[in-house]
């Protein structure tokens, strides 16, 4: 579904990505794990055109989307939930969801989606009129996911959904991600919390300072000593 070939990104002298190749097959959960600063976020930001690519190609459903503008990419079905959630704190939950479905002009379809999001996240339904800024971290993450679902994504990319959340909530979030995936949405997940991510992933890539150093099925990577090494620098 998504294919990345030789993706290189430099920002002001720093080589954030040094030519990575990745495949995201349809209907799967793919994860990209790695320590801080390994280049995970950069990869996702490049896919949606928020970061300028130095070289390499990105294909989505067989089409080259390299260098296209963000709005077009989002409209074609790739939705990114950015790191730190970035919900609009000054808007209500409902308004956040409306903006999530910004591109959908048909009121009926929009209402159906809203209904759907409310069933997935009953907590949001109760508090549609509340300002999003007053939410806790976990609730904000749910809202961010709900907002993304409003765009009816074909490929949902999640940037560190567990960041700053308590373990119990992380578990909850990961269950929801699995549910979303089961409903037919392809998921590309990047995580620092490698265990949680690899456990639900069909396939995983390990990124270390701009290079993919390991790849394999989730279960495989989970038991791999090298993953631990990549994180803790244990020689």
């Amino acid at each position: 579904m998504l294919k990345i070939e030789g993706l290189t990104v430099n920002y002001g002298g720093i080589k954030a990505l040094k030519g990575i190749d990745m495949d995201v097959p349809e209907g799967k959960i793919i994860t990209l794990v790695g320590a801080n600063g390994a280049g995970k976020s950069t990869t996702l930001r490049s896919v949606v055109g928020l970061t300028k690519i130095t070289s390499g190609k990105i294909y989505y459903q067989g089409q080259n989307i390299t260098g296209k503008n963000t709005v077009d990419i989002v409209r074609s079905g790739i939705v990114l939930v950015p790191e730190g959630r970035r919900i609009f704190p000054n808007l209500t939950v409902y308004e956040n969801l409306v903006l999530g479905g910004y591109c959908e002009k048909n009121k009926k379809i929009f209402d159906e989606r809203l209904e759907h999001v409310c069933t997935v996240f009953p907590r949001l339904k109760e508090r549609l009129k509340q300002k999003a800024g007053t939410f806790s971290g976990g609730e904000q993450q749910m809202l961010a996911l709900g907002r993304a679902l409003m765009a009816n994504p074909k490929l949902l990319m999640l940037d560190e959904p567990s960041l700053g959340l308590a373990p119990l909530i992380v578990k909850n979030i990961f269950e929801i991600i699995q549910t979303i995936n089961k409903s037919g949405v392809t998921v590309l997940l990047i995580e620092q919390n490698a265990k949680a991510a690899l456990e639900i992933a069909d396939y995983g890539y390990v990124l270390e300072t701009g290079n993919i150093v390991l790849k394999g099925s989730g279960v495989e990577l989970l038991s791999n000593e090298n993953v631990r090494k990549a994180y803790l620098g244990i020689a």
Binding site: A35, G37, A196, L232, I234
Partner: protein, 253 residues
């Protein structure tokens, strides 16, 4: 006897507790690491020590002197210098000028005598230039004295930032992710470099780093923060085998 010490430092931003009850103790000439996952509060801790933030609670002591409420420039004058996570050089100035700016705080002559180039000022300026040159030579940057800072390759920019911090004659230097964006080879060089400057300038070093190779290789003691809480401290071996740390980094299932 600690050269740098924090006592129950807590920092709140609105409802968010960025750092809570942080107790750091660094002895003279130590190299100490501060690690933790994204958003753990490491840079906030740096900003508290260097005076960018005043903590909500707690104290910072430098040589037993309370510096909690000092402003950043006063702290630098006392002898704590720092570098920044996303290199903050004076981009449009030359390499030499960047380092000379680090000398400005020790200048005694008033503005007018610098413009009139009084003998006293000229003596000070000569001294400053000579000192900066020696520093740049020691750090291997003497071949780019008159290049603009922005034109340097990334690794050299990192070095220059350290050189500039050293120019303020610090006793303690705080390095915020010095190895960010470096490849393994450069990281190894950086480790040697950190050891070297400690010997040469009799420094005490506190560093934030994500590249574990560097942290484990260079630090004598490590503090681990997670969600603002200090979850562990100890030698690199202790840290690497501490289940709490592994959990914070690799996550739980």
């Amino acid at each position: 006897m600690y050269i740098l010490r924090t006592e129950n430092v807590t920092m709140k931003f609105g409802g968010l507790v960025a750092v809570s009850d942080f107790n750091l103790e660094i002895k003279h000439n130590e190299i100490v690491g501060l690690i933790g996952p994204n958003g753990a509060g490491k840079t906030t801790a740096f900003n508290i020590i260097t005076g960018q933030y005043t903590p909500t609670e707690g104290f910072v002591f430098f040589n037993n002197e309370d510096i909690t409420t000092c402003s950043p420039y006063e702290i630098t004058r006392l002898g704590i210098a720092r570098t920044f996570q996303n290199i903050r050089l004076f981009k449009d100035m030359t390499v030499l000028d960047n380092v000379l700016v680090g000398n400005h705080l020790r200048l005694r002559s008033p503005l007018l005598s610098s413009v009139l180039r009084s003998p006293r000022y000229r003596k000070e300026e000569r001294h400053m230039i000579q000192k900066s040159f020696n520093l740049l030579r020691d750090l291997g940057l003497d071949d780019v004295l008159y290049e603009k800072a922005y034109s340097l390759p990334y690794g050299k920019q990192r070095r220059l930032e350290i050189a500039r911090a050293l120019a303020t004659d610090p006793k303690v230097i705080l390095l915020d992710e010095p190895a960010a964006g470096m490849n393994p080879q450069e990281s190894i060089e950086l480790m040697n470099f950190i050891h070297e400057i400690r010997e040469k300038f009799d420094l005490t070093i506190l560093l934030i780093e994500h590249t574990m190779q560097v942290v484990m290789g260079v630090c004598e003691r490590i503090y681990v923060l997670d969600h603002g809480v200090t979850i562990a401290q100890g030698t690199p071996e202790e840290i690497q085998n501490n289940p709490k740390v592994i959990e914070a980094y690799l996550g739980v299932n």
